[in-house]
Symmetry: C2
Amino acid sequence: MRYAGAVARLIGELARLPGIGSKTAQRLAFFLLSAPPEVAENLSAAIREARIQVRRCSVCGNLTDREPCAVCADETRDRALICVVQDPRDVAAIEKYRGFKGVYHVLHGALSPLAGLGPEELNIKSLLTRLAEGRVKEIILATNPDVEGDATALYLARLLKPIGVTVTRIAHGLPVGAHLEYADEITLGKAIEGRRVIE
Amino acid sequence: MRYAGAVARLIGELARLPGIGSKTAQRLAFFLLSAPPEVAENLSAAIREARIQVRRCSVCGNLTDREPCAVCADETRDRALICVVQDPRDVAAIEKYRGFKGVYHVLHGALSPLAGLGPEELNIKSLLTRLAEGRVKEIILATNPDVEGDATALYLARLLKPIGVTVTRIAHGLPVGAHLEYADEITLGKAIEGRRVIE
């Protein structure tokens, strides 16, 4: 079916979003065309505004609409403790837990030679700048527990240890509520290796 | 987690789309903020443009960016045969089949007393205008085979028959490729009632 030009373009742009196939893109497009006009106008404006207003924080690299970001500007956060993550969504996930009182550093990716992502493509230089001030005591490497995330953590650990800062890695193990019999052997191995004395 | 204002607004607007929950909205928002700027710009523009350019065809009610729409303007289509559907997507679905050479009429909904949708809310008046010209021979009622669609078809049949036009309903039955044992009993009943002589 030849959709009208503007409809076809809208479906095409929607289908470029991750996880949105052509059927879903069609459904969303016709929803936007049938809903009250302000639904489409608000979405269009929100996308444009977010792209204009949201920048990377010059300190930690997280996405923010003020400079520095809310976490970096918060005087109650412990600047001696930096948690390094791959993605802004990881910051959101850790903030939900509420127990972390340090600050963040967002790499915007992980090392991936196959995807052409080397250290130069990641937000690493500004991390070294932060460390140069000498107030940081510990770096928690909270990259994902997969091949790229582990490689990135190893690379950063080798880079940062000579500076004299404590470098830690988040624990691998069984997720809370998981059943042992359904865990994969690698996670199970990590959980046993990482066992802790009950006090 | 308090997202930056513009990010929170974007997530909120995305989450208003049908089938998009808050997790998916977050994922889409961060994709739009991390992808090359033109991805977000093009989507924002496509939504705005589609809303500005796309109107209902004054003849059939289908969504179009020209007046009348491509089907209504096509001289090779049979204007004596009108297929009545609920939604512009239904037109797209039937056009894919390529075997239908008539024209369409889009109701933009179905009768639904619970949702407050009566005949006045549907695109029915312009259908009567089309019939008044006297050239239409058959109306195919292709509303959905569910409670609302069937009620709408029944309502239209009663309204249109006195005008002296042939009114038909699309066949109900087993979808092609379906297994009999998995069919629900209502579909199976319709398939048996609607049986045809093999010639």
